[in-house]
Amino acid sequence: MRHTTWIKLAGAVLAVAIGAPAFAQTPVKFALNYQVNEAHIAYWVALEKGYYKSKGLDVVIEYSKGSGDAISKADAGRADVALADAMAVVPALARGAKVKIIGMVMDKSPLNIFVWDDSPIKTPKDLEGKTLAAPPGDAQRVLFKAFAESVGVDSSKVSWLNVDPAAKVPALVGKRVDGVGTYYTDLPMFEKGMGKGKVRSMRWSDFNFDPYSISIIANEQTIRSKPDMLKAFLEASYMGWRDALANMDEAITIFKKRVPELDQPVARAAMPMVYDLLASKRYEEHGIGWIDQQKMCRTVNLVNGNMDLPRKPSCEEVYTSALLPVVKPVQSR
């Protein structure tokens, strides 16, 4: 009786030893830039398809309260890697944060202003004398002066109302303001509150105003000490994007399964818009997430020139392309 127990025990230990992975999984904490939304779909695709796992990464995704929050987490080491708007990274660097952009997400700018479809505002010039709403530190808010200058509008004639992100849609629905500055990808959310077809957008990229926005960041310490982990993370993430871009239905099914609390109809409606911002010649040529140095420098100069910062970070210190993989979008179009 006794030695059968020993044999069973030995067998169990052997089974565990054989079944154990060949290498330990590195835990990686990934902080999104905000609450989960449609622009985050790729990371769950990568999780579901085991891309992170196959590279030895045990990725845990957490939400943040905005780019500033995500940058703080990365800087303090509370997150190993994070998402943040490039235009929030520059002021953070100016104030002492030690992070760098290691890869892009969107290649085209989502900057935009929504108005009612029956609004008299049809061109940027019509914004003069009107009131717009946006959360403080919002990209549209920060860069409005630069955008206005580029299209010949007097920004001092446009007044702004600070609103909490939760109040963006109510502000426009209730016609308390003439327009709201927010990413173009928020369109389905606004249509939900205002009615389909009742929302008109003014996309800044249509006026050739096209800076970088959401990017993947890490702090300098991590870049120095764990470059392989970051390279693996970027590659798996971009593989997630590649698959999501190639097959929207599959991606949405995964998203629904993994993030049940998300408003699926709204996210689904916003997906083609997100894809539009990632579909670019640059990515097709160089791989998803590729950083165009000139565009990055234009973005940094834009922020430096429009915000009152204690110092003006140089273009070179804001990013590094050294960790970028080459994951090209699927060519079948």
Binding site: P136, G137, L161, A171, D308
Partner: protein, 260 residues
């Protein structure tokens, strides 16, 4: 002699502030902490008295919201508290509803206010009042029902009507409770005004704070907090002074809810 004692009483409070300030200054001087995490006292003072932010306008807007909210909270609170103390039926009807209103997270309610009433000083005043009224209601009701039996008997002996009893005996006896609640309410109205400004605003100290936070401009955020606490301290002091004038017989504070 009593003047000196009065001064000495304030001195202990000041000494605590000085100790904290010294500790803060030392911490920043000794350790390499980035400014956006913990700025030095010097940076905060520079921001407070600097010309970057038009402090006076912002402070005035927030103060208007606080005072407006507080007056509404006080008037409505005392009125409702009196109703509750006057009639058990009203008490049973009103209390559950008031508790419900009080527990609603105002941060969730504020966007609805924006939709219904727009933005500006008036809606922000209403939100501040909404947050600050409850302690006043409860303490007024409790204070009015805590009248000592001796005094009630005395009133009856002299043939006082219900109304005279209320005016001459119940209300004065309830004053310490009410004043206690007003102190709490003054502080919560400050919080309410700032929360309202976080949701929608074009001016105000709360507006300054969130603007500063999003660019990691912590010295300015700290400076705004400094201004807010000065306003809060002045509000509290004003109520305390009012209390000493209206009810000098109240030795300490008696309260059904919390005492500050």
């Amino acid at each position: 002699m009593s003047r000196f004692l009065g001064l000495a009483r304030h001195l202990t409070g000041v000494i605590l502030f000085v100790v904290i300030l010294a500790g803060w200054w030392l911490l920043v001087a000794l350790f390499p902490i980035p400014e956006y995490i913990l700025p030095s006292p010097k940076a905060v003072l520079a921001a407070t008295f600097g010309s970057e932010i038009p402090w006076v306008i912002h402070a005035l807007v927030t103060t208007a919201e606080i005072i407006g909210g507080f007056v509404i909270a006080a008037v409505v609170g005392v009125f409702l508290g009196t109703l509750i103390a006057w009639s058990p039926i009203l008490e049973r009807a009103l209390i559950p509803f008031l508790v419900f209103v009080n527990t609603l997270p105002k941060v969730a309610v504020a966007p609805l206010f924006l939709l219904w009433f727009g933005y500006g000083i008036i809606p922000n005043t209403m939100i501040a009042a909404l947050i600050g009224f409850f302690p006043v209601v409860i303490n007024t009701a409790v204070g009015l029902s805590q009248t000592s039996q001796d005094m009630i008997d005395l009133g009856r002996i002299f043939g006082a009507t219900n109304w005279r009893m209320f005016r001459k005996i119940r209300i004065p006896e309830a004053l310490p409770f009410i004043l206690s609640a007003l102190k709490v309410s003054a502080s919560t109205c400050v919080i309410g005004a700032i929360v309202a400004e976080f949701i929608a605003s074009q001016r105000g100290l709360g507006y300054v704070i969130i603007n500063a936070q999003t660019t990691l401009n912590t010295p300015t955020a700290f400076a705004a907090l400094l201004w807010i606490s000065v306003i809060g301290l002045l509000a509290y002091g004003a109520i305390a002074a009012l209390g000493r004038w209206l009810a000098p017989w109240a030795e300490g504070d008696r309260s059904a809810s919390t005492t500050l």
